[in-house]
């Protein structure tokens, strides 16, 4: 038996981007494990990925191209050859382009795999070249990114490994142990050295249980807390005047702005007692080094962008950036010198393009948006919108359209793929090559393929080479090999890659970016923020054009931006739906629904696989506070219905004091088949955008729960 170990990297949309060792025996992957040598992975994977080889060899894998032979959604498919599949797609696209124009074609994707060459931007050159409708993908952290740009610019922020030096750690809307678990040892080390750990979350999560202080907060009200913290810090003169003078702009205006955001006001909005708000502000300001780690969920409500604006101002106000282990951690992805332009190819775009945001897919397909030409062809890869996107009923209706030509590239017949006219088999991470950034640490990773592709599965890069050829594209850059794309995708002359060669990363599987050590690096000790002023902008200087989505999330296109005017100072935007702001709606739908990641799924990945469903729970559950359950006569394990005007799903009740009264929690990622009513949690979530970056408002939704 020939047994080898291949070093790779986890493909998932998770901050941890683990280094994976795959054991291969006679060409077959038999086990995966976390790389013990990697300083962030530290020998562990997670509940999602531990059984990755079972995903690869699942008997449910799609291994050959398929064409639909029954009604849409019926899952009746017949195997066809790759030649026939590509020929069918090209013929149909060419005919649509001839009659309706290329804008009638819509790509739809996100980070089903987040490798640099197979992930976010792999299809962009083709669709930019065709002049298709631009897919504005604001699934994750888009509002946060716009806000972050407006405040401190695209900085990596605090090195996650510097947390060991922090003395006050504020995990804000982040369940580290559930969704960023490889960061935990650094936090725990800090705790052992005397740091105080504070968790702000509507739910007493696993992480909150291990914190020194858990502060439950009403969903969507976090900005009120951040603004009131600034109010207290300024009023009690806990600011770092020297840092403010040297490295920030707009302090006086900020001070005036937050003067109205009293702790009393914030208490009313957030449900946090006044004395706790004051205590939190004082402790945060007087326990250096103080660090804030924000999770993705912090943006998912009407004022999500301004929430991140407010939180991003806090470290500048108290001079937290002066200390190693002080400041803010959002996405260290900004440290990686990825040549996005090379990957997206915005230079190929026609001057004027049409843009469709990810949250409006349903109403685009039903025709409700009034698109002219309408969407006639949909190309889905790296995404499963039927399970994870708002407007679920409309989306289903749209996908059933006989005149819509839908192609889905997938590992499995997902809730979305079952509506496809053509399904294409995609490789898993063990069968493909890639180079990976991380949005949770500072290591560049390399994914060596461990095995040959199964069946006729192809990587996304190969898929788009085949499509480009069939569409008659002559530009040779469309036919680069994976190695050539990898080489071209990074700026190897950038100082952070100095001393790192592709060969080294390939052999070892990872390399820490050439940056100062986490033990003595305070990135903004001397200011140097990557903003237009070089300072932390309490009053932003880039709000002139109004609201925008970072072009990285929209195929590099910067036209047709949202443009809604944006107040240059942070402020509070109350939720669209909650008992305080919409009491009439709350009479019918009194409970705030939140839909965090499920323990064992990565978005909808693994929602169909036995190992993970065994650990997440076979069927959708909904967590209610005992008071809310009792009022409705609901007992633990009872089948229940969760509903609002947008839709309904069914689930089983879990009763727990870990959720706040008035809040219900339904972990997301379950597929339609695991729901008694054939719908997922997103049947209820609104299509409304958050204030910045067109982030979703998943945590800004009122529902009612009833017994079945």
């Amino acid at each position: 038996m020939a047994r080898t170990t291949v070093v790779g990297a986890c493909p998932h949309d998770c901050p941890d981007t683990c280094s994976i060792l795959t054991t291969v025996e006679d060409g077959k992957a038999i086990a995966v494990r976390g790389n013990p040598d990697h300083p962030f992975t530290r020998g562990r994977l997670c509940v999602k990925v531990n059984n990755y080889e079972e995903r690869v060899y699942s008997d449910k894998r799609v291994l050959h191209p398929l064409k639909r032979v029954g009604p849409k959604g019926s899952k009746q498919f017949q195997r066809i050859s790759w030649d026939e599949a590509i020929e069918t797609i090209a013929t149909r696209w060419k005919s649509i382009i001839a009659t309706d124009g290329a804008q009638a074609i819509l790509p739809y994707s996100y980070l089903g795999t987040q490798g640099i060459i197979n992930g976010l931007n792999v299809g962009d050159p083709l669709f930019n070249k065709l002049g298709a409708t631009v897919s504005e993908r604001t699934f994750c952290d888009s509002g946060s990114c716009t806000a972050y740009m407006m405040t401190i610019g695209p900085t990596p922020g605090v090195d996650p490994e510097s947390f060991v030096h922090s003395k006050y750690i504020l995990l804000w809307a982040c369940n580290t142990l559930g969704t960023n678990s490889h960061h935990w040892p650094f936090i725990e080390q800090a705790k052992k050295a005397g740091a105080k750990l504070v968790v702000i979350d509507p739910v007493r999560t696993r992480t909150a249980r291990l914190a020194d202080w858990h502060i439950p907060i009403r969903p969507g009200t976090d900005a009120a807390l951040a603004l009131a913290m600034m109010h207290v810090i300024i009023k009690e003169n806990l600011v770092d005047r020297d840092y403010i003078d040297k490295h920030t702009v707009g302090y006086d205006e900020l001070a005036e702005r937050v003067s109205t955001y009293t702790p009393e006001f914030a208490a009313q909005e957030t449900g946090i007692p006044v004395e706790d708000i004051v205590k939190l502000a004082r402790e945060y300001a007087t326990t250096p080094p103080a660090v804030v780690r924000i999770g993705v969920a912090v943006e998912r409500h009407a004022g999500g962008g301004q929430t991140v604006r407010a939180i991003a101002c806090l470290p500048g106000l108290i001079g937290a950036w002066k200390h190693v282990g002080g400041g803010l951690l959002q996405l260290p992805i900004w440290a990686f010198p990825v040549k996005w332009e090379v990957l997206m190819r915005p230079d190929l775009q026609p001057e004027k393009m049409r843009v469709l945001n990810s949250w409006r897919l349903g109403s685009a397909l039903t025709g409700e948006l009034g698109f002219d030409p309408p969407i006639k062809a949909l190309f889905v890869y790296n995404a499963n919108p039927m399970a994870m996107v708002t407007e679920q009923a409309k989306l289903e209706q749209g996908l059933e359209r006989e005149d819509l030509f839908t192609v889905v590239s997938e590992h499995f017949l997902t809730d979305t793929a079952r509506y496809a006219d053509i399904v294409l088999p995609a490789t898993t991470q063990l069968e493909q090559k890639d180079i990976m950034f991380s949005w949770g640490h500072l290591y560049l990773s390399y994914n060596n393929p461990a095995i040959e592709p199964l069946g006729e599965a192809v990587s996304n890069t190969e898929l788009f080479r085949r499509l480009a050829k069939a569409m008659g594209i002559e530009d040779l850059s469309f036919y680069r090999t994976d190695d050539e794309i990898i080489e071209a995708s990074l700026d190897w002359t950038n100082p952070v890659l100095q001393g790192i060669t592709l060969e080294d990363v390939k052999a070892k599987g990872y390399a820490r970016l050439t940056m100062p050590s986490a033990d003595d690096w305070a990135p903004h000790r001397e200011g140097n923020f990557p903003t237009p002023t070089g300072k932390c902008e309490f009053k932003s200087t880039i709000t002139g054009g109004g609201n925008f989505v970072v072009p990285l999330f929209r195929q590099g296109y910067n036209g047709d931006q949202d443009g809604t005017p944006v107040d240059a100072l942070p402020h509070y935007i109350p939720p669209n739906e909650n008992p305080q702001t919409t009491p009439a709606l709350a009479k019918r739908y009194p409970l705030s629904l939140i839909t965090p990641k499920s323990h064992a799924f990565l978005n909808s990945n693994y929602g169909n696989l036995p190992a993970q469903t065994a650990q997440a729970g076979e069927e959708q559950s909904v967590f209610l506070h005992p008071d809310d359950a009792e009022r409705r006569g609901i007992v633990a394990g009872a089948p229940i219905r969760v509903f609002n005007d947008r839709g309904a799903f069914e689930a089983f009740a879990s009763i727990s004091p870990d959720v706040m009264p008035g809040v219900v929690m339904a972990p997301s990622g379950y597929w339609h088949r695991s729901n008694r009513k054939g719908a997922t949690v997103h049947a209820l979530t609104p299509p409304a955008y958050a204030d910045l970056g067109r982030a979703p408002t998943f945590s800004d939704v009122l529902v009612q729960v009833g017994k079945l």
Binding site: G34, R42, R44, L45, S181, P185, E188, R206, L210, Q615
Partner: protein, 101 residues
């Protein structure tokens, strides 16, 4: 759900598991280690480092090993957290050989 320490740990107690566990869920007595199911995050990091293959996820335990779920829960509540690796029990290496590991 959680991971569970089973038979093979008895008489060995190598305690390599604590070197990888991120959440201090290992408890110990004079015979073996136990996993606190309330703290375990199902990361499975302890499985490949155990020299005698004593650790398994609870949902995959064979029927005749299911009782270890209760044993781990009960003993984890009664015993102290194991913070660092201990020397293996006397005779551990002989037992390891006996187990064919």
């Amino acid at each position: 759900m959680a991971y569970v320490v089973t038979d093979n740990c008895r008489g060995c107690r190598y305690t390599e598991c604590v070197t990888v566990c991120p959440v201090e869920c290992f408890h110990v007595d004079e015979k073996m280690t136990y996993i606190d199911p309330e703290n375990c995050i199902d990361c499975g990091g302890c499985v490949p480092v155990c020299p005698v293959g004593a650790i398994e996820p609870d949902y995959r335990l064979a029927a005749d090993k299911k009782f270890w779920i209760d044993v781990n829960r009960k003993r984890a509540a009664e015993t102290p957290v194991l913070a660092a690796r201990l020397p293996p029990l006397p005779g551990a290496d002989a037992r390891r050989q006996e187990l064919g590991r």
